[in-house]
Symmetry: C2
Subunit: 198 residues, 2 copies
Amino acid sequence: MPRDSTATRARILGAAYALFYRKGFQRASLDEIAAKAGVTKRTLYYHVRSKDALAGAMLEHQHGFVLAEMTRWMDRPAATRDARALVARLFESVVHWVKAEAAARRHWTGSGFTRIAMELADLPGHPARLATRRHKSALEAELARRLAECGARDARDAAAQVQMLLEGAMALTLIHGDVRYARLASAAARRLVMRGRS
Amino acid sequence: MPRDSTATRARILGAAYALFYRKGFQRASLDEIAAKAGVTKRTLYYHVRSKDALAGAMLEHQHGFVLAEMTRWMDRPAATRDARALVARLFESVVHWVKAEAAARRHWTGSGFTRIAMELADLPGHPARLATRRHKSALEAELARRLAECGARDARDAAAQVQMLLEGAMALTLIHGDVRYARLASAAARRLVMRGRS
DNA sequence: GCGGGTATATACACTACCGAGTATACAATC
DNA sequence: GATTGTATACTCGGTAGTGTATATACCCGC
């Protein structure tokens, strides 16, 4: 194992994430990715079998980071007791992210997972699609677990509904470039997890 | 004006919609689109300036159909009086669409507008992005108008929230291939437009 | 009405380029 | 000295866009 193979692999997956995220799957070229990773294309192909496999591997790699980040936002004391505080934190993280991008003079471009899934809508068996499914399922399960801990009614259904509001907020924020949607989604989500009639 | 120019243009926009919808913006080729429209590529370029412009024009063309279809679903007597019935109809249309695709042994692939916007996330000025913005704004405004007519509280905010649930339902239905999300989103939307505390 | 001119519409054949993937050779570690 | 990793240089197919030629309908002067 000459040179540091795992470090090279990590650099490749990182560069792949950056470029796939910025330009989408099809428009990100392997030449660019290899260049950004500081590696030739031949080396890249030593580490991954194809562009399709690279996209899948890079999303699997990314999953851990996203889950950790989400966990970090939800691990505030208040959010472990009160379902409304929990979902409020979740949407705050989105607002924070949108603003951070704006501060860097970039546009918010939403979830890399969802965007790739939509770009490859006609290829349900694609590695990136499978990684996306696993990712979204894991997030939803984690949210359901926490909602149940807070004593929310119908935690599983509520988790799916909150996740849809998250996805919707990301879509419309991307389309209109307006953070307002994230705030409205937050209000809706808090209303949903409220105890109350039906 | 030899031959029927407007009919040719309509055929081109129709073929463009079909292929852009199926394979996305980048992976749909102009050769394919021209072939499907029964026209050579040179003729296609007589009618549109570029692939980018074609995507924009085709979405503008599509906007009317989608709005009309949505209107048709919401024009049930009950839905013009009761906000809950109104949004229920809206989500029924999604469920109906998903099932129709499944019956034709195809996968549901969501909104063509949203998918293109996500594919071109880094190009906010792209013609297709502008068309998408206009489209989503028009849908939201129409929904707000109808909700207000039903006497829903905060109709404008509620319209945005219901639209986010719609977008979220489409995203997760695409990702998981499961209609269940549309039903859960419907329940959430009905709860949101309900009169009640905060 | 009618021949010819003009703007419009379509066809064929082509270019230039980019991007995924590969044949082969070389280098570094154990 | 064998295995693993990296580099150079290539192939080959696909795709956006174009140069040039031709066909169709309308219009206008007469």
